[in-house]
């Protein structure tokens, strides 16, 4: 009786064929199970009762080096197994936060820009005594160690310092009849060069070659939106006004660079722009070096430091492997961490781009450099002027207010004074709010 009531099935579908297909798929999945085996990790090795988990961003070159270090460590410590978690870099901090918040923190973790925010919340173990005892830090840049000291605790030490610099196209300098920039040049020389290197063929306002692609960093103005200790906003200083006015004049008055908005909105990546000769000078960072070497191999390029404006300055940041304050195996974790502080590790990690915090390692790196840039020495010169972001517990939240206000200046919808008035007020309010809440 039900058959009579059933609607006619149409010719275009063939349920039996679909049933077969589903059957085959399920059979394949079950078959595949026996081929690839059950999902989770192989059972813990009884020979190695202690397991250390180390979280790092997925980056092939780095992973190879980590694995070598770990192999060495495991050979020396037969009772410890180390598991490495490679996390896609864009989501690195998010995943780490979920692991921490849900009580499954890794024993060791990589830290970059997020360090201060994690550290001020007590994420890392104090290794000060161990560091003094086991590692020779006499050759370390003192400021690099200082960056990792929070509330009197030494939470570790970096293995690499990222430095900002300017990369330039030698051929375009030659064509314009200009001498290559010196590391100790100043703003007037920079602007004169940038003007001569800017080409507007046909005078239609569409610029074919920019003298400088990027912004002059806050460091050369001595500007900083928030004070070093994070207690008050410093958006309305003369240095900050210089930063905004000078950069605005670069694209507004002199037309030697695209506006920051145009740069973020461009579909092409910076290496393509540099390779195609659309920029004679460009802001760059040590992590750009491997891509510049690979993708701009046919460009004759070198690097130089920022011009002096109000002062010398190079934006800087650093990376370290740190031990979680929640680790259950501090002694074993430290033994592993020690290897990440050694000269070998620094040298290998910085080969692709980065300044080793250990000065003698840095000198060795420069001496043995056979690739571009020829002027790698500039990074060592820059150590005097490194200008990292202040280490503030709520830096991402506070800085977002500042960056939004900067956007209005670049778009021309607000004056520097008006924009910074807004930023100052909002940052002050946020700082006060966090203090009231006792954070």
């Amino acid at each position: 009786m039900a058959a009579k009531k059933q609607p006619r099935s149409s010719q275009e579908e063939d349920p039996r064929g679909l049933g077969w297909l589903l059957g085959v798929i399920i059979a394949a999945l079950i078959g595949g199970w026996f081929v690839v085996g059950p999902g989770a990790d192989p059972p813990a090795d009884p020979q190695r009762p202690i397991k250390l988990v180390m979280a790092v961003p997925a980056d092939q070159a780095d992973l190879v080096i980590y694995k070598q270090v770990i192999a060495r460590y495991e050979a020396e410590h037969p009772h410890v197994a180390v598991e490495i978690r490679a996390i896609p870099g864009n989501n690195y901090y998010q995943k780490l936060l979920v692991m921490l918040a849900s009580g499954l923190p890794p024993d060791l973790m990589w830290m970059g820009e997020g360090f201060a925010e994690f550290a001020s919340r007590g994420a890392f173990m104090d290794v000060g005594d161990r560091l003094d005892q086991d590692v020779d830090t006499s050759d370390f840049l003192p400021q690099a160690l200082q960056w990792y000291r929070i509330d009197g605790q030494q939470l570790g030490a970096p293995y690499l310092i990222d430095v900002q610099f300017i990369v330039y196209n030698k051929k375009l300098f030659d064509e314009a009849g200009l001498a290559y920039p010196r590391d100790d040049w100043d703003y007037d020389e920079f602007l004169a060069d940038a003007k001569k290197l800017t080409v507007d063929r046909g005078g239609d306002g569409r610029i074919e070659q920019y003298g400088y692609y990027g912004q002059l960093d806050m460091s050369v103005f001595g500007a900083q939106p928030i004070s070093e200790d994070g207690t008050h906003a410093t958006c309305q200083t003369p240095a900050m006004m210089d930063f905004l006015n000078t950069n605005r004049s670069l694209f507004n008055t002199f037309h030697v660079s695209p506006s920051p908005q145009q740069i973020t909105g461009s579909g092409s990546d910076v290496y393509t722009i540099f390779r195609q000769g659309k920029a004679a000078m460009m802001i760059a960072y040590t992590w750009d070096l491997p891509y510049l070497r690979e993708q701009c191999a046919d460009v004759d390029w070198d690097i130089t430091l920022n011009p002096k404006v109000n002062q010398r300055g190079q934006w800087a940041s650093s990376a370290a492997i740190l031990i979680s304050s929640k680790t259950r195996h501090p002694a074993e974790a430290w033994e592993l961490n020690k290897l990440f502080l050694g000269a070998d590790f620094q040298l290998r990690m910085c080969e692709d781009g980065g300044l080793p915090p250990n000065l003698s390692v840095a000198r060795q790196l420069v001496a043995q450099n056979r690739h571009k840039p020829a002027n790698l020495q500039a990074l060592i010169v820059a150590r005097e002027f490194l200008y990292p972001k202040p280490r503030i517990a709520n830096s991402a939240e506070l800085y977002s207010q500042f960056y939004n206000a900067c956007d209005t200046v670049w778009m021309g919808t607000a004056t520097p004074a008006g924009a910074m008035d807004r930023a100052q007020r909002q940052i002050t309010w946020l700082i006060n709010r966090h203090q009231e809440r006792g954070e």
């Binding site: 925010e117 919340r121 994420a123 145009q262 909105g265 461009s266 956007d407 919808t413 809440r437």
Partner: protein, 300 residues
């Protein structure tokens, strides 16, 4: 159906309800309770009563008596979110037209259905970066084409006023052949052809049949698409803004979901993110209830 046993509905609901209660209801409840706490993800959550909501919705007076919103960003991002949701009715209309066209016995309709669905399949970083390139002010295809007809195109993604329409165009283009079209296609199959045949005999033309048969018969589908699009719209815009504009310029393309993400995983304010979510929840619930009342015919 009036004669089923009292417990019969339970048997139907049980498989879904059990899993749903454990994996959806409990976490959602936990998240909403968090909005009365401050939680930096490192220390145990601290109960703060309504503090988060005061920071979020309140205002203050400065020394000169000028009123400032405590979180001006929130209101702006709420506006952005609502603005971008204007794309919903347009998309729904396009989806309906496409579905009706592709439900005709046209040769090649299977092919066209797949073609219009393609942007949904290709969606991802690559597709968005392709759009970024098309929108480029200097060499993007869109401004080139506008120049041919004598229009100087705006600098789409970098302009405070044009960045939102730019994102809306991507949304409409990308989703008109997506979920909406599929659901309308499925819905159209539920309309008995006899209704059309009868109307044709009565002399109704195409538009008449569309208005008096297709639209009313699709009402439950339309209702579903609308409600889910509104729910999705209030929570949407993260991927696109993250990849294309980073939420800028000056927060012009930051949506509420982007803001919630920032507070949860960039600013270490999980409690505040939960409070934002609770406000969002109340808003969506209100809009849904409202549509429920007006869409009564489609829901009962």
């Amino acid at each position: 159906m009036r004669h089923h046993h009292r417990l019969t509905p339970l048997l139907y609901l049980l498989p879904n309800l059990t899993g749903f209660a454990i994996f959806v209801l409990i976490p959602v409840a936990a998240a909403l309770v968090l909005s009365f706490f401050r939680w930096d993800l490192f220390h145990p959550p601290k109960f703060v009563g309504l503090d988060n909501f005061i920071d979020l919705l309140g205002w203050r007076r400065d020394a000169e008596g000028v009123i400032h919103l405590n979180d001006a960003g929130f209101w702006k991002y709420l506006y952005n979110t609502l603005y971008l949701m204007l794309a919903i009715p347009i998309t729904m209309f396009c989806s309906l037209v496409l579905a009706v066209l592709l439900n005709q016995k046209l040769p090649g309709r299977m092919f066209f259905r797949s073609v219009f669905f393609l942007p949904n399949i290709c969606a991802g970083v690559g597709l968005l970066l392709l759009w970024k390139f098309l929108y480029n002010n200097d060499f993007g295809l869109i401004n080139h084409m506008l120049a041919w007809v004598g229009i100087t195109g705006p600098d789409w993604l970098n302009s405070y006023n044009w960045s939102k329409p730019a994102l809306m165009i991507i949304m409409i283009w990308g989703s008109m052949g997506g979920t909406g079209m599929i659901l309308y296609l499925a819905g159209l199959q539920g309309i008995p052809p006899e209704l059309y045949e009868a109307a044709e005999i009565d002399g109704a033309n195409v538009l008449h049949r569309f208005r008096h048969i297709t639209i009313p018969m699709l009402a439950p589908t339309t209702f579903f698409i609308f409600i889910t699009a509104v729910i999705g719209g209030f929570q949407g815009g993260f991927d696109m803004a993250y990849i294309l504009t980073k939420g800028g310029p000056d927060g012009a393309t930051t949506t509420l979901s982007y803001y919630i993400y920032n507070h949860a995983f960039e600013y270490f304010n999980m409690g505040y993110a939960a409070a934002l979510s609770l406000v969002l929840f109340a808003l969506v619930l209100f809009v849904t209830m409202l549509s429920w009342r007006f869409g009564r015919g489609a829901t009962e």
